[in-house]
């Protein structure tokens, strides 16, 4: 994407954080382009907040360097880093009204009063809170507090914007609205931003690139498309989106087998036990499967059918494996029920093959589909 071509604005070199024996962040290297929105995505406890706090100077790094626009800021205290931070719990100053909250950072920068007022007004307009300038934070709803926090971080025109799970305290509807608002504003201002989240949909929706982390380690860095379609490993495939997971085998002759069905897949080509992963909505139920190269097909038996409104999820036993198939519902569709034999078809490129992970290394659900 375009952002990748831009010169790096924020660089992390071998960033490391240890708490006693815990390596919360391990040798993390990243480079973020000017104006890019990069997501730090991973399960709770994987080191996202720790990484963000090190970038913002709120926590010293154990090792490694942080470079902003070519300048090493690793040793700078937070008040000299010029970064706007949006905290998970907003951290609005309770004893100041909205305008004073916004004005604080400008006062610190010794901006003259009249210009300060103009910029506060502009920032309030940006988040559509002009009418709330005189309110105290506790007199605002969660979404409004969130917008004040965003405006307060942006009004100082920081070189980098850091957001730590900024939407996690909002309810679902508001979350989607706010994430788009954050994205719009970020693009309009062309500001470099790091967005921490454990919500893969949120990351996919608004980030230019996503860094997927697990247990302090960067697992994959890529565009949302790459992360979703070409996951680097089983963990990324399982964490981003819903996916079927089945144990298979690749013979010395290169043939990929799921039970006794021969498949075409993409990814790991080495012989031996493999893990085959297929996203449920990429599998079709069809009486006339497409023939030839690029398509897999197999026959199985329906074991369960669940109607969830817009989706129909059908579990199909296929040899030793059980595959979940998701279909969008439409009126008049005739669908198989439990006990029926069905034919499945899916593309070879949707058949992700990874080396089988040694037991215990990868904490996966027992079988079937990863939770989204």
């Amino acid at each position: 994407m375009a952002a990748e071509a831009a010169p790096p604005h924020l660089e992390l070199h071998g960033l490391e954080k240890r708490f006693g024996a815990t390596r919360a962040v391990q040798a993390l290297s990243l480079s973020v382009g000017k104006g890019e929105l990069i997501g730090l995505l991973g399960p709770s406890g994987c080191g996202k907040t720790t990484t963000l706090r090190m970038i913002g100077g709120l926590m010293p790094a154990t090792d490694g360097r942080i470079i902003v626009a070519g300048r090493d800021v690793t040793a700078l205290p937070p008040h000299r880093r010029d970064m706007g931070i949006v905290f998970q719990n907003y951290a609005l100053f309770p004893h100041m009204d909205v305008a004073q909250n916004l004005s604080f950072g400008l006062e610190m920068r010794k901006i003259p009063a009249d210009e300060r007022q103009q910029r506060v007004q502009r920032a309030l307009a940006m988040v559509r809170l002009e009418a709330f300038a005189a309110r105290k934070p506790r007199e605002l709803s969660g979404g409004q507090q969130q917008r004040v926090a965003l405006a307060r971080a942006l009004v100082i025109e920081p070189s980098i914007l850091l957001l730590d799970e900024p939407l996690s305290n909002l309810d679902a509807n508001l979350r989607e609205e706010m994430r788009n608002e954050i994205r719009d504003i970020q693009q309009r201002l062309g500001i470099t931003a790091v967005f921490v989240t454990h919500d893969q949909a949120e990351a996919l929706a608004i980030c230019d690139r996503i860094a997927v982390m697990r247990a302090g380690v960067l697992e994959q860095l890529g565009t949302p498309f790459e992360i979703y379609e070409r996951p680097a490993n089983e963990f990324v495939a399982g964490f981003v989106g819903r996916v079927n997971r089945a144990a298979g085998h690749r013979g010395a002759d290169g043939r990929l087998l799921l039970g006794d069905v021969v498949l075409q897949g993409t990814g790991h080509a080495g012989a031996g036990p493999v893990t085959i992963m297929i996203r449920p909505h990429r599998i079709r139920l069809t009486d006339t499967p497409p023939e030839g190269i690029g398509w897999n097909s197999a026959t199985g038996t329906v074991t369960r059918r669940t109607f969830v409104g817009d989706l129909l999820s059908i579990e199909v036993a296929l040899g030793p494996a059980s595959l979940l198939v998701e279909q969008h519902t439409f009126a008049g569709a005739v669908v198989a029920g439990p006990g029926d034999a069905v034919r499945l078809a899916w593309r070879a490129e949707d058949t992700l093959v990874f080396p089988a992970s040694p037991a215990g290394v990868f904490p996966a659900p027992p079988a079937g589909v990863f939770p989204a």
């Binding site: 950072g105 307060r152 971080a153």
Partner: protein
């Protein structure tokens, strides 16, 4: 019964106790101040304004009143200066240690103020630990006991637990993320303190100051012992008149003045606290 139902009944015991043990004696005290005092502690039966007239005409008592207020404010100020960093440290320490530290801070209350005062006499006395320490580092020690200095040192230490407890109670609003937010917006540490920490801890500061002030005004044992009879304050004067010279009407009148000072302190506290509440909450 209205919307509170039987709830008002719950305060009845407290009201009864207060009527019996506070209001009734106070009214007696007020009556006493309008009686004639006889040598040897006797009390006349006739109504007289003599005690109040003498009291209000004598500049000595005005001096004592002003000195008491001044000393109490000074002690309150020192207790705040010494207690605030300590309370802050305790508040910030690990949950594991916090309870232990709180107990350590208030443990002096387990020992009576009289005993602690004697302890200070030993430490501050001419051959005590403090003067020899000063001599050891080459400073000619000033007199530390039987004067105002001793009274201030002793009372600051004795009343600090109350200050620390009040401060800790008021630190609840503090939240480290707020300080981090301020720092990220460009505030150096001292500015963070003035603009964020101090305003948010103001309620605790005000409460601690009120408590320390009132307790200082009313303490008489420590000023008497550490002041060596040379530091004359409102409370020590009340004590002397009530116990030594047995001039009970005068002691009663001075007690009412002390009560007036408490009332004034409450009013000032209320004003400031309300203003602070409006500005902060």
């Amino acid at each position: 019964m209205g919307r509170f139902g039987l709830l008002p009944l719950l305060v009845l015991p407290a009201v009864a106790v207060n009527l019996l043990t506070f209001l009734w004696p106070m009214l007696n005290l007020a009556g006493l101040s309008f009686r004639e005092g006889m040598p040897g502690g006797g009390i006349g039966t006739d109504f007289t304004m003599a005690t109040w007239r003498d009291l209000l005409a004598d500049e000595f008592y005005l001096e004592i009143l002003l000195r008491s207020v001044g000393v109490s404010l000074t002690i309150t100020g020192f207790a705040l200066l010494a207690g605030y960093p300590l309370a802050f440290f305790v508040h910030r320490s690990d949950a594991r240690w916090r309870n232990l530290l709180v107990v350590a801070c208030i443990s002096p209350l387990l020992i009576s103020a009289v005993v602690r005062t004697y302890g200070w006499l030993v430490i501050l006395g001419d051959r005590g630990f403090a003067p020899s320490l000063l001599r050891g580092i080459g400073i000619d020690p000033p007199r530390l006991v039987f004067n105002m200095t001793g009274v201030i040192i002793g009372l600051v230490e004795i009343l600090m637990p109350y200050m620390i407890l009040s401060l800790l109670a008021g630190f609840g609003k503090l939240n480290q993320t707020l300080e981090e937010a301020a720092a990220s917006l460009g505030a150096p540490p001292l500015t963070v303190f003035w603009r964020i920490v101090l305003p948010l801890t103001l309620p605790g500061i005000l409460l601690g100051c009120l408590l320390t002030f009132v307790l200082t005004i009313s303490s008489f044992i420590t000023p008497k012992l550490l002041g060596g009879g040379r530091v004359l304050l409102l409370a020590t004067e009340i004590y002397d008149n009530a116990i030594v010279t047995l001039n009970w009407p005068l002691a009663a009148a001075l007690s009412l003045i002390a009560l007036g000072v408490f009332g004034a302190a409450m009013v000032v506290y209320g004003r400031i606290a309300r203003a602070a509440e409006r500005a902060i909450a």
